[in-house]
């Protein structure tokens, strides 16, 4: 596969504008940055998947966390998601962009120094992020868990990356911008916007903050972010990579360039509006939900256009695909893209969502995307790039083929059991007996799917084994070759002025000004995005408040922060949808006005455990005490982790005043000067719970964290419960 590697090839043709006097310029491509990002993506893929595997095993064997806070499911799962998204895929994006952008622009990256700052800055963010998540510093918002100092660092490094790509585009030697570049730019602008808007937070200590938004708003912003993070971090940059590396690997141009342009514009146009499909049947306003559904369904068109464009590129070359593991990876990647983007709109239909939401179905869906689309495309690109920048053939094509089969079977063994689990559990949740009683206890619906969880982790192990085979293969390849740090090449510069002949059509005018067009359209996208968010900010004062809903007491607030720290939201929802079974199981369905003091919101997205929105008053304090110490005492067969340290850790009362002040500044109506008195109230309430526990012969330290957690759990949902007996 590597026979046509030529490093210093001759410039193709002088620019078509008739300036024969231009001199060919000699320059080189920076392969060092590509190599660094490639190694990083390999390294983090292994780490991220190991974290995922640990999380998967913990779901049937909670003891796998060794009873340490850092390794409990609630903390490992965010490490897994952040590592695979921002470390594995993130570095994969940068690897592909640094390689292809230089070649498509016929120019070296704008600045070697910026490339290096970008690389080391990003890796530092990853390490600090992972350590802080394991230590329990989290904003409590999925895929945006990193705390405020890290958020600022991300913004800074993202700007560096932006300067580097725009700088390269400006000094390019090729007048036309290939479609991949449009995808990269859309990625850059949109991710910047998403990250900044979603990260508005109010710090109250050097590493902790509260989300600026509350309740419904917070949920809307978060899922606008979450959905578009999938769109603009996991999809658009990878489509850019597909449009560059698939033609490269197949050695033929993309099937239809026209289609690729339509694909690009319709995709970014429609994606932006689909976010609310994560919040169907919640307390989100109906019109926003419907908008989300309509645009989600429309998404099928551009997504499938893109997939077909990719697959048709290989028309008449299927014999090549059979031979070449790189193309095999890419074909499966593109197919998985198609499957995931067909399933996504389907899951946005209210009737399907009613079944799928909060179950493992969602997890299966995202892994078709993550393992199939992102994973396989990254592997294909890695197998393609590394031999080239090391100027040596791949060590073993056969091993790459083995990797392909491990990966493919891994995906099937991963996804099928989870689809099954999701469907089974949902059906069990919704079953009633003839007398009209719920047929199953929640716990029964958990133990039922344990074998499927075990199979899933076998699938994951297989997939990871494939990755390890790749690591070995690429290690051998790199050992045998030698990095061509600066790849010499040459090209004609762009002519200074462009002459035109005859009548100009408006679309010619556009074609001549790619950069201006780019900037214009991106400004438009940004304005559109901001306008879309404005109503969300406006409703702040307009959310109907329920008189009975009061701010959390200081003890409850501390308990809520512990709930966030331990990542309970990774297994528990706090959002009862208006369905017969949910109301029967959990109580009155959730109302928007109940969440007005929730910074951040904790609706959750997955019910590995039952919903907790109306947990308050359901059990005595002592039940919670024993359950948190070891859930299996109260619920034999439970897969919830033990939290023994909550019994001995002391509540951080030193932070109470700062937390109250932060909440006040966000509009939570504690009376002025309350920050100074808060700890007194906290002690009083804690003493009350201690006395309750003492009645059941449980002795606790006066400031044990468990008291705060119990206070919070007993408070959940009671504002409304107490109104209606």
């Amino acid at each position: 596969m590597n026979e046509n590697v030529s490093l210093a090839d001759s410039p193709s043709q002088p620019p078509d504008m008739g300036h024969k006097s231009l001199q060919v310029e000699q320059f080189s491509y920076d392969n060092k940055s590509v190599q660094l990002f490639a190694f990083a993506t390999i390294f983090w893929s292994v780490i991220g998947m190991l974290a995922g595997l640990l999380a998967a095993v913990e779901l049937y064997y909670p003891g796998a966390n060794l009873n340490l806070p850092a390794t409990t499911f609630g903390r490992v799962r965010p490490v897994h998601t952040n590592a695979v998204i921002f470390a594995f895929v993130g570095n994969g994006i940068f690897m592909g962009v640094y390689y292809s952008l230089q070649r498509l622009c016929k120019a070296r990256m704008f600045s070697d120094k910026l490339s290096r700052i970008h690389f080391w800055g990003w890796q530092t963010i990853i390490v600090v992020g992972a350590v802080s998540l394991l230590a329990g510093y989290t904003s409590g918002k999925e895929y945006a868990e990193l705390e405020w100092p890290v958020d600022i660092a991300i913004t800074f490094i993202w700007v560096i990356f932006g300067i580097n790509i725009f700088g390269t585009i400006l000094k390019r030697r090729e007048s036309h911008l290939y479609v991949a570049i449009w995808f990269y730019i859309a990625t850059w602008v949109t991710v910047a916007m998403l990250h900044i808007v979603n990260s508005f937070e109010r710090p109250f200590s050097w590493f902790k903050s509260y989300s600026w938004y509350a309740g419904v708003q917070d949920a809307l912003v978060q899922w606008w972010y979450g959905h578009n993070a999938v769109a603009f971090f996991l999809t658009t940059p990878y489509l850019g990579l597909m449009y560059y590396f698939l033609p490269k690997a197949a050695n033929r141009p993309v099937y239809s360039y026209r289609l690729s342009i339509i694909h690009f514009w319709s995709l970014i146009f429609i994606y932006i509006w689909a976010g609310p499909h994560h919040l169907l049947y919640t307390a989100l306003p109906d019109w926003a939900q419907s908008l989300g559904v309509v645009f989600s369904v429309m998404l099928i068109a551009p997504s499938w256009g893109g997939m077909l464009n990719g697959l048709f590129t290989l028309r008449g070359a299927w014999d090549k695909v059979r031979e070449d593991p790189i193309l095999k990876f890419m074909v499966v990647a593109v197919t998985c893209y198609g499957m995931a983007t067909l399933e996504g709109p389907m899951l946005s239909l209210k009737s399907v969502n009613a079944i799928s939401h909060f179950t493992d179905w969602t997890i299966a869906h995202v892994h078709i995307g993550a393992l199939g689309w992102n994973g396989f495309l990254t592997f294909g690109v890695l197998y393609w790039i590394l031999p080239r920048i090391y100027n040596t053939p791949l060590y073993s094509k056969k091993l790459a083929g083995t990797h392909f089969w491990f990966g493919t079977i891994g995906i099937v063994l991963y996804a099928v059991p989870l689809y099954w689990a999701g469907f089974t559990q949902s059906m069990m949740w919704k079953s009633f007996t003839e007398e009209g009683q719920l047929k199953y206890q929640f716990l029964e619906t958990v133990t039922q799917i344990i074998p499927l969880y075990i199979t899933r982790s076998i699938g994951g192990t297989l997939y990871l084994s494939g990755v390890l085979i790749m690591v070995y293969n690429l290690y051998k390849t790199v050992k045998a070759g030698h990095l061509v740090k600066d790849e010499a090449t040459s090209a004609y510069p762009l002519p200074k002025a462009i002459t035109t002949h005859g009548k100009e059509h408006w679309h010619r005018w556009i074609e001549r000004r790619p950069v201006q067009m780019l900037v214009l359209s991106l400004v438009a996208v940004a304005i559109g995005g901001i306008l879309e968010m404005v109503p969300t900010f406006l409703i702040k004062s307009n959310i109907p408040t329920i008189a009975a809903v009061k701010p959390y007491t200081p003890l409850e607030l501390q308990g809520r922060d512990i709930y966030i720290r331990e990542g309970c939201y990774n297994c528990h929802s706090q959002m009862i949808r208006p369905f017969r079974d949910e109301v029967a199981r959990y109580g009155d369905y959730s109302k928007a006005g109940e969440f007005v003091y929730d910074h951040p919101f904790q609706w959750g997205s997955k019910r590995t455990g039952p919903d907790l929105a109306r947990e308050g008053g359901k059990y005595p304090d002592s039940w919670h005490y024993n359950h948190m110490m070891d859930p299996r005492i109260m619920s034999p067969g439970s897969i919830m982790p033990n939290y023994p340290w909550l019994l001995s850790n002391e509540i951080d009362t030193a932070s109470t005043a700062a937390k109250i002040r932060a909440m006040q500044s966000l509009g939570v109506p504690y009376r002025s000067g309350y920050d100074a008195l808060a700890n007194t109230d906290l002690q009083t309430q804690a003493r009350g719970i201690r006395e309750q526990l003492a009645k059941d012969k449980i002795k606790t330290a006066p400031n044990a964290e468990i008291l705060a957690v119990i206070a919070y759990l007993q408070r959940l949902g009671t504002d409304i419960k107490s109104v209606k007996p």
Binding site: N4, V5, S6, L7, D9, P11, S12, S100, L104, K106, E174, H176, Y178, A180, Y243, Y244, P247, K248, N251, P253, V254, Y257, R258, I261, I262, W265, S266, F269, I272, W273, A283, P285, D286, W287, R388, T489, A491, H505, H507, I510, E511, S521, A524, V525, I527, G528, G529, I530, L531, E532, V534, P535, L538, I539, N542, I543, P544, K591, A592, G593
Partner: protein, 54 residues
């Protein structure tokens, strides 16, 4: 208690969503027309850019 549709109570809130939609949609249409009008040769040329140099 019913809390659906409370956004409608802010006067003129739809103007924001409508303008955002308008901006997006206009760009989309302009680009779609461009894609269909653009010169075939030019498209072929741009399309072969990735294969242009190694």
């Amino acid at each position: 208690m019913k809390f659906i549709n409370y956004l409608e109570k802010i006067t003129g809130v739809d103007i924001y969503a409508m303008s955002a939609f308008g901006i997006f949609f206009t760009i989309f249409i302009v680009m779609a027309i461009w894609a269909f009008k653009a010169d075939r040769q030019l498209l072929t040329k741009i399309n072969s850019l990735p294969l242009d140099n190694q």
